[in-house]
């Protein structure tokens, strides 16, 4: 007899490879007679040992899957303990966790038991018990299973804040190879349904005051990185297309952890965590900073660089656009400077309404100049101190994220007289194999 605790252990572990944890995008104040609220910015209640945010109770309703997707720990052919929640028992655990401020709400997905429609009906039951019996007003993110009936998608959206489908693999050939049970059509049709119903809901809300909300936090999706051979370029172009076509709020990238079928999937490389990190950085640039995916990665540069973040990599390849004059550049130009994000850009723009900014003012504004200094002039004064050219600049901008395996010999040759120019130059933080003292040329 599996106890409640066993089920929570098994089904929590089974759901952990879904990266989505956002609780933002939906803002509901307290409602009379209901327990809970959502906050527009989202709240992380804890962080697990792997450094990931814990804001929702993230579980599968069941892990006894009918399908046999090669990358998934719950695939039919895997030899693992299986469990299934009763809808009432899961709803009760959720509400009690919520009362204790452990979570903001529920993230519910499931393996396919019987059929996608049957499984979805069970998931709907959980949501109904939560919303109606326990009067739960907090956040719910529910997954729509590929191939599910559109009418069930509608019911999901009326109960949840976010409804989403995972595309899992970035190309159709990979999908056919690794997840033959999930057809491409079966994945994209629910995504289109969610998009259309959200659109209709928005219109109806302007016409009828009491229209119930449909998925107010929209939809997102997830791709596994490193389980299949697509380039970063292919992935980023796909994300850009998905944002445009399905109006997704987020695309999540999940580094492949070797828990899958050893025949079909690479087992001898460590999880590509750095690659996943770079993809998130590139995703941010496309989604929020006004970059086009083609600017960051094209046919000649199909992969993101390991040692440089995507924005710095772009800047180094387009030095003709710099330096920018801080008193004249517009918001999106400023945002392209490595080290300047929305906060710094906003401060610069606000401050320059009162005075003409000089280098000291920029420092006082709290703009991080360690990298930005090479790309800016303030009132005509160049803040970088060194000429804008590639090899030297690239070294200065390098991330501390990675441990580059450089030999001292290579460093000596590729660096211009780095330290002869300015002995006080800061080295990028991180574990570089450079001597502590300046090198005399």
């Amino acid at each position: 007899m599996t106890t409640r605790e066993d089920k929570l252990r098994i089904l929590g572990e089974a759901a952990r490879y879904d990266a989505s944890c956002a609780t933002s995008g939906s803002s509901r104040g307290p409602q009379n007679g209901m327990i809970g609220s959502t906050s527009a910015l989202g709240i992380c209640h804890s962080w697990s040992a792997d450094g990931r945010c814990v804001s929702l109770l993230k579980v599968l309703l069941s892990n006894a899957c009918l399908y046999d997707c090669a990358y998934c720990m719950n695939r039919r052919s895997a030899d693992i303990p299986r469990a299934t929640f009763e809808p009432e028992e899961l709803a009760e655990i959720t509400i009690e966790f919520y009362r204790r401020n452990y979570i903001e709400g529920l993230f519910l997905s499931s393996a396919v038991i019987g059929s996608a429609d049957y499984t979805t009906e069970r998931m709907i039951k959980v949501l109904q018990v939560l919303r109606r019996q326990y009067r739960f007003n907090g956040y719910i993110h529910v997954k729509a299973l590929p191939g599910v009936d559109p009418r069930l998608v509608q019911r999901l959206g009326l109960l949840a804040d976010r409804v989403s489908v995972n595309i899992e693999l970035p190309s159709e050939p990979s999908l056919k190879l690794l997840a033959p049970d999930k057809e491409k059509k079966a994945i994209f049709k629910p995504m289109a349904t969610i998009r259309d119903l959200c659109e209709i809901n928005k219109e109806e809300k302007t016409l009828y005051r009491h229209t119930p909300s449909f998925a107010p936090a929209g939809q997102s999706t997830q791709m596994i990185v490193g389980a299949s051979p697509e380039t970063d370029r292919k992935i980023l172009l796909l994300s850009q297309e998905l944002y445009k076509r399905y109006r997704l709020k987020r695309v999540y990238y999940s580094a492949y952890i070797p828990i899958g079928d050893k025949q079909l999937l690479p087992i001898d490389q460590p999880p590509p965590l750095l690659r996943e990190h770079r993809l998130y950085q590139a995703d941010w640039l496309v989604r929020l900073y006004g970059f086009d995916a083609e600017e960051l990665l094209d046919e000649d540069v199909p992969h993101l660089e390991a040692t440089l973040d995507p924005k710095a990599a772009w800047a180094v390849r387009h030095l003709d656009q710099f330096p920018l004059e801080v008193n004249r550049a517009d918001l999106y130009q400023l945002l392209r400077v490595p080290g300047i994000g929305f906060t710094s850009a906003r401060r610069i723009i606000m401050a320059r309404r009162s005075k003409r900014l000089r280098p000291d003012d920029i420092k006082k504004l709290g703009v991080s100049l360690k990298r930005a200094q090479y790309f800016l002039t303030a009132d005509g004064i160049y803040m970088g101190g060194v000429p804008l050219e590639d090899p030297g600049l690239r070294l200065r901008l390098r991330d501390g994220v990675v441990e580059p395996q450089l030999s001292l010999f290579e460093e000596e040759n590729s660096a211009q007289p780095l330290f002869a120019a300015d002995p006080k130059l800061q080295l990028p933080a991180g574990r570089l194999l450079l001597p502590a003292a300046p090198i005399e040329p």
Binding site: R4, R99, L273
Partner: protein
């Protein structure tokens, strides 16, 4: 002229009112009240400010009308009790009223930086508690939580939890400032009764163990990163967090 007030926020706002009314450009503010050390200057004239809630509301509304963030910055920074913060706040408020905007982006003024840093320290403490407070069920439907904040943020938490957990009776005990927030499903109270603070927080709660089990198993082993976790959940908050407490015994059914 040194203006001394009673240490309350309304007192502070009344002082701002008084300073403006007297058109005192060289005003210095001194925070009085039970836990302050007011220097009795020999050569400077001192004046005690009477706390007037009507005047306080007028000042508050004026600031809030300019921007709610402006008021929030002022309140949070004031709560910090940092050395000299009242003085910096006076300049901050004057500047904001003068330009009719929240001056939070004008960081080339030292007092703006000072106010924003203080506000940030307080807001971050409050936000951490929003995230990390853990309730334990102690009675039939009474839930209790303990916190040890660096700043006096109990009132800030009040709004969030009264809204969210309106259907539950709960207590939040601030052990640093010796106060308790009580919500009885009708109204909330702030009590300084020491008797409330005495009983220790009970450990066993059937859902605490479930949470611990869940929490342990959601970390992906290949991605374990204790440094990151320490940075995100500082050690000092972990004292009252269920998932970082020793494992609960399994309760009999």
């Amino acid at each position: 002229m040194i203006w001394v007030y009673d240490g309350s926020f309304d007192g502070f706002l009344s002082t701002i009112f008084a300073v403006y009314k007297a058109r005192d450009d060289l005003a210095q503010i001194s925070r009085g009240g039970t836990d302050s050390t007011v220097q009795m200057g020999l050569f400077q004239e001192q004046r005690a400010v009477e706390t007037d809630s009507q005047r306080a509301r007028r000042v508050q509304n004026k600031i809030e009308d300019i921007s709610p963030h402006f008021l929030r910055n002022v309140y949070s920074a004031w709560l910090s009790k940092h050395e000299g913060i009242d003085q910096a706040l006076l300049s901050y408020i004057r500047l904001g009223i003068h330009i009719d905007t929240n001056p939070q982006d004008l960081r080339y003024h030292a007092y703006v930086r000072e106010v924003l840093q203080a506000a940030r320290d307080v807001d971050i403490d409050a936000y951490h508690y929003l995230q990390f407070i853990r309730f334990v069920r102690v009675g039939e439907s009474i839930y209790m939580a303990d916190i040890e904040p660096s700043y006096d943020i109990l009132l800030m938490l009040c709004g969030q939890f009264v809204d969210r957990l309106a259907g539950m009776r709960f207590l939040i005990r601030d052990l640093t400032h010796r106060k308790t927030l009580i919500w009885n499903q009708q109204e909330f109270f702030l009590s300084e009764d020491p008797a409330l603070l005495e009983p220790p927080l009970p450990q066993a709660d059937e859902y605490a163990r479930l949470w611990q089990t869940y929490f342990k198993h959601i970390a992906i082993p290949e991605r374990i990163n204790p440094t990151l976790q320490t940075k995100l959940v500082p050690k000092r908050y972990r004292k009252y967090m269920t998932e970082f407490a020793p494992t609960q015994p399994q309760l009999p059914k």
